[in-house]
């Protein structure tokens, strides 16, 4: 295995609020190899986006506290100065955000927004930048790119805007691309196109990708490894196959049972898992999933460790492997495949 390009070790993120301290991320460790696609999956509020944003320091502020480390090519990102981080942002690690409708400055031309990032890292002439912008836009599949570079975001559809975001993220050929729910706000058909595009680009450029999503369905085809987060913690991680075919954590089972399907309304709630996600303000003791877990037992009042069960497949559950096998209802894999078939023809 190649040397990982990014290593997150015991990351903790707390926010001070009026109501108290919110433990948004609680002891997360991850690593990312060059060219690898790592998916972080979880419900809203699971800490997955916070983890991703912490890497670029986008959620720094007087009320936020970060502990642990995140090493990127010898730089510790969490404690890096703003100036150092700035050199990494966009150039080394780029990010695509969830809502393309709001993530672009409404009063700036598309082309200018992309050019801004290029100019932040490279000294190029105006003409060179313009050419680069057009080329990037063409690469992400925006027709009549030269002309549309002069448009404003509101003149674009959601899918087109997300393409712009991708073009923006790729503009300095970053080593790591963080895609935070890149498809959530889009129509299902567009989702597939965007995912397809990300996959192509990955193959073309060899960029490592962290794909943050709440939808296991979108990752099956693209990710190499998956980390499932719940209540600020990683509850299970492993390769795609391991997760899909041998999920260990009851929460993962629930996720697998609620994969987005065309015939269901889109949404963040996972209808198949009863109950609400835990409050991170005042999290329950022990396993965070305890309250919603159908298989809860007294041991769950202690925090289960993230235990590696071999081949990098780890999970946080007190149940034994046998108990898990017995209690798993869904035939793993089938749903994932079914989903893939539905999406594929588009």
């Amino acid at each position: 295995m190649t040397e990982p390009i990014l290593v997150i070790d015991h990351l903790k993120v707390d926010f001070q609020t009026d109501e108290g301290t919110v433990h948004a991320v609680d002891d997360v460790s991850l690593s990312l190899a060059p060219g690898e696609v790592l998916a972080i999956v979880g419900e809203s509020g699971s800490g997955k986006s916070v983890t991703a944003m912490s890497l670029l320091g986008l959620n720094r502020g007087p009320n936020a506290r970060f502990t642990g480390t995140a090493m990127y090519k010898g730089t510790e990102l969490l404690s890096a100065s703003n100036d150092d981080l700035r050199k990494i942002r966009g150039a080394e690690i780029a990010m695509i955000f969830q809502d393309p409708m709001t993530s672009l400055n409404p009063v700036q031309r598309i082309g200018d927004q992309i050019a801004e990032q290029i100019l932040a890292h490279e000294k190029l002439s105006k003409a060179q930048v313009r050419d680069r912008v057009v080329e990037l836009m063409e690469r992400v599949g925006i027709p009549r790119a030269a002309e549309r570079a002069r448009s404003y975001p509101h003149e674009f559809s959601g899918g087109m805007r997300q393409r712009v975001m991708i073009a923006l993220a790729l503009s300095c050929s970053p080593n790591v691309l963080i895609a935070d729910e890149p498809t959530t706000a889009l129509d299902v058909t567009i989702q597939a196109q965007i995912l397809e595009r990300i996959k192509d680009l990955k193959e073309e450029t060899g960029t490592a990708i962290i794909l943050v999503t709440h939808d296991l369905g979108v990752v099956a085809d693209i990710a190499d490894r998956i980390a499932v987060m719940y209540g600020g913690r990683i509850v299970e991680q492993g390769t795609v196959d391991e997760i899909f075919y041998d999920p260990q954590h009851p929460y993962t089972w629930g996720l697998l049972g609620s994969i987005t399907r065309v015939d269901r309304p889109r949404g963040e709630r996972l209808p198949s898992i009863a109950g609400l996600p835990p409050s991170l303000l005042d999290p329950p003791a022990g396993c965070h999933f305890r309250a919603r877990c159908p298989h809860e037992f007294p041991k769950c009042l202690e925090v289960p460790p993230l235990e590696d069960r071999g081949c990098g497949h780890a999970d946080r559950c007190w149940l034994t492997v046998e108990e898990k096998r017995a209690k798993r209802e869904v035939r793993p894999g089938e749903i994932g495949l079914a989903n893939k078939e539905e999406v594929a023809p588009v």
Partner: protein, 317 residues
């Protein structure tokens, strides 16, 4: 864009039509004494009063009087009841003063409002932010005539640092004197708006700074300063600029009555105030219509500027 402007202009005309009728009616419906008797003076005779009624068309039906008056308003031939001066000539004399007051104050409040608002937002939550917040709210809470009177008295009269009211034309006293005479009125008028603007800008910035596209900008690796100026400030300023246009319209369109009167600038506002003190309807009518004109005009300009600044606004829809 062309259609939009045409539509706005038609709207403007309608609104001003309504304003003129309303103002006209206020003085027709509400009993405020007979202007003919007033004009005839104390020792008038019925013949004389009848002659005045005739000359001034007071006996015509209301709508004819309205049409007659409006004709005079638009041909600039409206005559004051109390001293029979041409109202438009008097307004023309006051306009440069009102503009001088309005523009200077507007620049001051914009510059100070924006810098203080920005500073406050950047230092948000800190001591200086709170201090500025308190000062802004005190500014907002002070009646301009009170501040103006105290300023004029203490700074202008007692300590003699500034001229005690009055206006000097540039042609007469030079640019320096002009500014010197206007500093106090500008300040008094601007205080309120500085408070309002810095508060609004601060909250706009704090709203904008959490917007997704600012996060995007930050993720690009540009400096915090650039993020602040190119993205946060630019977007936060759009509503401020439009507000600035509206407020400028209000000040020019009559909002400066108190300031002008307190500092004796003899602008249009003071002319209005003196006219209403004499229940001299023609100046009151014409100044009100003119004021409404400025307000509506700047509203329209603001709409257009807003559309230019913010491409999301589609004109004509």
């Amino acid at each position: 864009m062309g259609r939009f402007i045409v539509r706005r202009i038609i709207g403007m005309i309608l609104v001003m039509f309504a304003v003129s009728i309303l103002t006209f009616l206020i003085f027709q419906v509400i009993p405020n004494g007979d202007p003919a008797v007033r004009m005839a003076g104390k020792n008038s005779t019925p013949t004389q009063i009848a002659a005045i009624r005739d000359t001034w068309h007071f006996n015509d039906p209301i709508y004819e009087q309205y049409v007659y008056t409006m004709k005079q308003v638009f041909t600039g031939s409206l005559i004051s009841y109390s001293d029979q001066t041409n109202v438009w000539q008097e307004i023309k004399k006051g306009l440069p003063r009102t503009f001088a007051l309005g523009i200077g104050a507007a620049i001051i409040w914009m510059v100070l409002g924006v810098s203080l608002g920005l500073y406050s937002a950047v230092r948000s939550g800190g001591f200086s932010d709170r201090l500025l917040t308190v000062l802004a709210l005190i500014g907002v809470s002070m009646p301009v005539f009170w501040v103006g009177a105290l300023m004029s008295y203490y700074l202008g009269y007692k300590f003699g640092w500034f001229p005690n009211g009055g206006y000097t034309e540039i042609a007469q006293g030079g640019f320096g004197q002009w500014i010197y005479h206007l500093i106090l009125p500008w300040t008094a008028l601007a205080i309120l708006f500085v408070g309002v603007y810095s508060r609004i800008l601060r909250s706009n910035i704090l709203d904008t700074i959490n917007d997704d596209y600012v996060r995007t900008a930050r993720a690009k690796g540009i400096s915090e300063r650039q993020v602040l100026i190119r993205h946060v400030l630019r977007n936060s300023l759009i509503p401020i600029i439009t507000l600035w246009g509206l407020d400028f319209g209000l000040v020019i369109g009559g909002g400066a009555v108190l300031t002008e009167s307190v500092f004796n600038l003899q602008g249009v506002g003071q002319y209005f105030a003196e006219a209403i003190g004499r229940l001299d309807v023609p100046p009151v009518l014409e100044v009100t219509i003119l004021g409404a004109f400025f307000i509506v005009l700047l509203n329209t300009v603001v709409d257009i500027v807003y559309a230019l600044l913010d491409p999301r606004i589609r004109l004509g829809s």
